[in-house]
Subunit: 228 residues, 2 copies
Amino acid sequence: MQETFTTEQGLTVPVHDLPLLDRVRTLILGGDFPPGAPVSEVFLAQEFDVSRTPIREALKQLQHEGLVEIRPKVGTFVREPTRREIVELFQLKESFEGLAAGLLARRGPVRELAVLERNLEESDEAAASGDAERYAALVHEFHQTIILGADNNKLTEHYGRLMNQLAYHRLVLRTAGHPGRIIASTAEHRTVLEMIKDKDHFGAEAAMRNHVYASSREVLTDSRTRND
Amino acid sequence: MQETFTTEQGLTVPVHDLPLLDRVRTLILGGDFPPGAPVSEVFLAQEFDVSRTPIREALKQLQHEGLVEIRPKVGTFVREPTRREIVELFQLKESFEGLAAGLLARRGPVRELAVLERNLEESDEAAASGDAERYAALVHEFHQTIILGADNNKLTEHYGRLMNQLAYHRLVLRTAGHPGRIIASTAEHRTVLEMIKDKDHFGAEAAMRNHVYASSREVLTDSRTRND
DNA sequence: AGAGATTATGTTGCATGCATGAAGTCGTCA
DNA sequence: TGACGACTTCATGCATGCAACATAATCTCT
């Protein structure tokens, strides 16, 4: 097994081309490029002070991840996911996270339980003090902990791809949404955690899927963000 | 949306580099390369009569798909999935196919029902006449029909990636296994179909997951193939 | 002036060459 | 004989150059 590195989104990539691929991805996801904007190879090449060749390879990866669209002989463009794709991705998210919660419950973890417990406490604090940013970070951490806790690298990998595709959408929502409004999804998180504690993997999966479904619906029905 | 093409495994790729990427993938999955074997760029380059550059890009894609391992400054090698990875992939397969069956049941399909119905009849015939090859093909078609019937392109995409990673393993099992032995999993398929007919998406998902789990266990416990 | 054809431009697609680094090989020395 | 070290070999990593094609701009003709 080669040396790998797991990115923030949980995507495992070979470590040797991490800097470039990661930097390009960050640049595109950063929001500097509106959807549909062209991403020229030469621009990126001089931006990162490398040749076009490694840039091309990175862009192909990103195409594979669904973040950009390469039109042969024309150019590369930031891909704007359609609403239908968003729905599809959320269906997958529900399935992935449900699976993860179930696997974690079956494992009967120790370390993760403490982390999740602490997370919920801090989430309550953040919600009470109205710290939206902190709350969002904690929500992210909660889900990430469960995914990683499932102890299934392939799941982590696929989940990372998924979240990368949703990342741009999330960003739009987060910046365009109502920052002050935080709906406490902590209750649903707590339910999930209880199920995991009880080693009820069936219940944990169901609870997590309900939670993801609920949050996705709120994202999809209107444009208000639920920070989750 | 750019023009895409869906491969046999259901993986959607841009059409312009289909020939090369697909041919390289087929070559590697074809079994000519034992696991761990080096896949030199120059070899592939002269094999397909192109330069190293497009070969490199294709290999990077395959690395992304998990089929090869690129060791920097050393070479590219056919990746041998560990047993643990096989287990992880089957867990994902269970989740994917369960999701697909559920979505299909919820859709209340018409065309797919006829196809699946016919498939089961032919499966019975193939099983009765002991045509292992035909039976395996029908099993593949059954699952593929359900995946595609779920009408979720992202699911199809992720599933395709998954199956590509399992493809090599399947091949080994199929060739090394006992070709005469066919255990009729048709009964489980029939259960899944009944649930879909009844639009019981919950039951369909459960039935499919049980089925996939059962077949995976049989694959994993010993080396005998169940053709599924 | 408008429509079609033609040129011009910009970007990608690929081939090639060279530098870099990793293994393996051979030789030398203790 | 065994171990250490320089060297050879070989494959990759990347830069560069040129050709091909899509698109836009221009020109011509009616």
